[in-house]
Amino acid sequence: MQNYLNNITKKFEKAFFISSTKCEQSVFTATITLPVFSFSGIIPRGLFSFSGTDNGQSGPDPRFKMILWSIIAGTRGGINRAKILNLLKNSPMNANKIATVMNLDYKTILHHVKILSKNELITKAEKDYGAEYQLTQIMKENQTILEEIMQKIGTK
């Protein structure tokens, strides 16, 4: 906790320093520059942590964890989306192959894939018809969250 407070005060000092220097510059260059404000800076890490073991201090990004949980647990057919992500984790596949492996309708898979692409979780390798889908960089970095969710699905 002490460490966290120190970090916050450092951040405030830094933000103030940046803004003051920007103001000095603006006197000379006559341009208005505002200090960069980000919401992620004021949300403490670990606020959206569900596991409770690591307190969000290390490991995967808790904000991404929130997004992944809401896409999988907060939407209809989210469990199938988790299964698609789990399939693509091992090897890139096209929509038709996913449909045959998961034993689901091709159009259903296309819909799931569209939603996952819109949320930047998977990308097409190339623009062609029947192109293979693969996980995006941020999804690859946070695979442990997916594994955690898949374990919860597996137990039931």
């Binding site: 999988i72 647990a73 907060g74 939407t75 699905i153 039931k156």
Partner: protein, 100 residues
């Protein structure tokens, strides 16, 4: 002249229907994934539904029975109407995201 109280109650009924749709999806997911997140979603949606049920109950019992209360409630009914309509808009967006 619009009866704001009636409009507010219609909006509350709409909210209950929308929340039923959302809760159905959440419970389906909760039966597969049991976690803080899924049970939390169900709890939040259930509490919102309780709020709308209380509004309907207020209208059907207290408001209908008491003439004096009916007069004073009508004076502030447009506020209740605005609150409920904003909630309906918000829940419609939530349903759209959830059922996509």
């Amino acid at each position: 002249m619009i009866d704001f109280m009636l409009a507010a109650v219609v909006s509350a009924f709409l909210n209950i229907v929308l929340l039923l749709v959302v809760i159905t999806t959440y419970v389906q997911n909760m039966r597969v994934i049991r976690s803080y997140y899924t049970s939390g979603l169900v709890l939040v949606a259930a509490l919102l539904m309780l709020q709308n049920i209380v509004i309907v109950l207020f209208w059907s019992t207290l408001y209908m029975d008491d003439k004096a209360l009916m007069m004073s409630a009508d004076m502030v009914a447009h506020y209740l109407f605005i609150i409920n309509v904003i909630q309906t808009i918000g829940l419609s967006i939530l349903v759209w995201i959830t059922r996509r």
